[in-house]
């Protein structure tokens, strides 16, 4: 199988990249491990406030529907239920649908594999009933299953606030949110107020000491200023933050740099969202963890520049568009957290000086 552009991942960034490339007449293939398009947007029921100026505020799943529709209007080939397992010597991508493995030769690859939630370890965190906040949200909004009746959330990011509210509205009693820092991490004060209105107690300067239970989590100890508080419950949702998913880049022998604010190690890339491999672009959380709005813009930039590299768009036009889209990222990212924006600028400036290279040399 051959294609002009292979897009790995059908989340928001992958889908916008697909629209950008396919609408310019290129032959585009998307590979997506799950059976549906939209990535993590599918289970986001909250309204996404900070979207690029050319979008209206929407709930996450509505945005996913819209992107899906845009992609369906093009001739993009969607390999749902397929995953990339590796690469051949000649550069072909090895794709599997579980029954078969087959090579796909792509002129350009856009990697949009997203980010993964990080864990928090504490005694007995392996008990059933203890899961990531993303898992709890998936149960609630994608599988339509209540994760439990009584929950505690470890962490206070914006995402944790969203999930706390959604769990409450769904009928789960959120008994507490636990934060080890001195203050709540969420930047969206409106959401923090909503959580407080719902009567969810937020404990700062606190950490989870241990979980207990037979066969499943039944209670946890929270430690606050040497005081122990025991909370009976059936669900613990941990928010360890997110980091980019890098396996594909690693196999492609891309270089990496480290930016804490963007999720830690990320592939090195230039202003065109191209990695240090001529034929590999990237987009979305894989290029640094950010807000939904920014992810869409990065997908557009990667799509435009992949198109340009295949002659589907003039260099001048691509540059003009890229510059104005970077302005859009700046607006969105500075509003969200100026540190994230500064880290991104630093990262792009480091393009010639990646920290981690030649990872397969003995």
């Amino acid at each position: 199988m051959e294609t002009d552009v292979l897009i790995i991942g059908a989340g928001p960034a992958g889908l916008t990249a697909a629209v950008e490339t396919a609408s310019r007449g290129l032959d585009v293939t998307i590979v997506e491990e799950s059976l549906s398009m939209g990535g993590q947007l599918i289970q986001q029921t909250q309204v996404l406030g900070s979207l690029p100026s050319f979008y209206q505020p929407k709930r996450g799943f509505e945005l996913a529907q819209r992107l899906r529709k845009l992609v369906e209007d093009t001739s993009v080939r969607c390999l749902l239920g397929h995953r990339v397992i590796g690469f051949y010597k000649d550069g072909s991508v090895g794709i599997s649908d579980e029954a078969n493995v087959f090579p796909l030769k792509a002129k350009k690859i856009i990697v949009a594999t997203g980010a993964a939630e990080k864990a928090i370890a504490f005694p007995k965190w392996t008990l059933p009933g203890i899961m990531t906040i993303g898992a709890a949200q998936t149960l609630l909004n994608r599988d339509f299953v209540l994760p439990g009746k009584h929950a505690v959330i470890i962490g206070t990011s914006d995402f944790a606030m969203d999930v706390a509210l959604q769990l409450s509205e769904g009928g789960v009693q959120v008994k507490a949110m636990v934060e080890k820092s001195q203050t709540v991490l969420a930047r969206d004060t409106e959401k923090v107020n909503q959580v407080s209105k719902m009567g969810i107690p937020v404990h700062v300067n606190s950490s989870i000491k241990e979980a207990r239970g037979i066969g499943r989590v039944e209670e946890i100890d929270i430690e606050q200023r040497e005081q122990i508080m025991t909370i009976p419950l059936d669900t613990v949702c941990v928010d360890g933050g997110r980091s980019p998913i890098l396996d594909v880049f690693y196999q492609l022998e891309c270089s990496f740099g480290y930016q804490r604010e963007l999720g830690g190690w990320i592939p090195q890339y230039n202003p065109f969202f191209r990695t240090d491999r001529e034929d590999v672009f990237l987009a979305g959380n894989a290029a640094g963890v950010s807000s939904q709005g920014v992810l869409l813009v990065t997908g557009i930039i990667a799509g435009i520049n992949a198109s340009e590299s295949l002659g589907a768009l003039s260099k001048e036009e691509a540059e003009i568009k890229t510059t104005s889209l970077w302005k859009e990222i700046e607006t969105l990212e500075t509003k969200l957290d100026p540190d994230v924006w500064n880290a991104r600028i630093r990262h792009v400036q480091n393009y010639e000086h990646p920290v981690l290279t030649d990872q397969f040399i003995s």
Binding site: K89, F360, S362
Partner: protein, 361 residues
């Protein structure tokens, strides 16, 4: 950290660590091991780790391997459990030409006292029922087995440290000088002085040799290996190409590529190795592969170990070989004897670096 040592060993892999341990166990103190990275980061940490004797040629080299394999039970008693298991080794074959080879091999080994049995199809399947029923036969030897390579190096290292050996890791050697009866070893983290210097750089031996203007003809050969997730124990023997670990994983592969120091894996070879897996053990079809890894083997130009003193430079020694896991207890012992007594209990003249023509660069 001290700068003055009796002996410095460059390379903390299975050979370097074994030499350090054996030397320190003979009450030799002031030993330093220098490693450019961390023990197990190279070849020793990326191997199937068969303890393998049979099908090695020439037969005197097989004999050398046998002596080493025989040391393992004793070694484990001294340095701790290294998950060594003398399972017996099985090399299946699928055609009559290979049977002829196998019979010749058995004949040649008989003369040196290594017992190899050439099994019929039925005998092979009786020993290892999960083998492909289309197998034509197998060679079998009870000497062979396997070891946990991580444990082995870890135990050598810990035992050596207990004996007072010092390790300096993430410390690459950049320069070596000989001054009177001393070596000056310059590294990234400082300069050390020693009386005896042992080069145990494995795949990097050629590079180390350049620092003393000696040609150590060791090349790199890449092997890619598949690892399954842990499976209930089902393999009785160490099969050349497939073996099951203590932990239950099955390691599969016997490939050789010349790719220098490039440790990448390729889907081409992963798929070939998967074919080999089901060709040997059809039941593996359902097992899941969790990882493919790639190891760079140290391959001396003629395939045989390079051991002993380096002519022309007093108290400079080299130990570089393929099959380091199997040979480590013996080489560790012999190199210690050589340094302490000037002679070895098993002759190693055959393995001298002087057998190569172009010794000096």
């Amino acid at each position: 950290m001290d700068t003055n040592y009796e002996t410095i060993i460059i390379g903390g892999g299975v050979l370097g660590s074994s030499i350090a341990y054996h030397l320190s166990d003979c009450k030799k103190d002031r030993i330093l091991v220098l490693d450019q990275k961390f023990p197990l980061a190279g070849t020793s940490g990326s191997t199937q780790a068969w303890i393998w004797v049979h099908n090695k040629t020439p037969s005197w080299y097989a004999e050398f391997n046998m002596y080493s394999a025989e040391l393992f039970p004793y070694l484990a008693k001294k340095i701790g459990d290294v998950e060594y298991k003398q399972t017996g080794g099985l090399s299946p074959f699928f055609n009559e030409a290979d049977r002829e080879k196998a019979l010749q091999l058995a004949k040649a080994y008989k003369e040196i006292g290594i017992k190899i049995k050439v099994l019929s199809r039925e005998e092979a399947l009786e020993k290892e029922p999960s083998l492909n029923p289309n197998v034509a036969g197998a060679t079998y030897s009870s000497i062979d087995g396997n070891v946990n390579p991580f444990r082995l190096v870890d135990r050598y290292m810990r035992a050596a440290k207990k004996n007072g050996v010092q390790y300096s890791t993430f410390n690459k050697v950049t320069e070596i000088q000989k001054l009177h009866d001393k070596f000056i070893v310059v590294s990234e983290k400082g300069t050390f002085v020693c009386k005896n210097l042992i080069l145990a750089g494995g795949t990097w031996s050629r590079e180390l040799g350049k620092l003393v203007d000696i040609n150590i003809p060791v090349n790199q050969v890449r092997g890619q290996i598949l690892v399954t997730e842990p499976l209930k124990p089902f393999l009785n023997y160490t099969i050349s190409g497939v073996r099951q670990t203590f932990n239950g994983e099955v390691l599969i592969g016997y490939s050789m590529e010349k790719e220098g120091f490039n440790r990448a894996t390729t889907l081409d070879l992963i798929q070939e190795t998967a074919n080999m897996a089901v060709h040997y053990i059809p039941g593996l079809r359902k097992a899941k592969v969790v990882r493919a890894f790639s190891g760079i083997r140290a391959m001396p130009e003629d395939g045989l170990p390079i051991l002993g003193s380096i002519p022309g430079i007093d108290r400079l020694y080299v130990a570089a070989t393929h099959s380091g896991m199997t040979l480590s207890p013996l080489i560790g012992t012999l190199m210690s004897e050589l340094i302490l007594d000037g002679e070895t209990s098993v002759p190693i003249d055959r393995y001298s670096i002087s057998r190569f023509d172009s010794l000096v660069r």
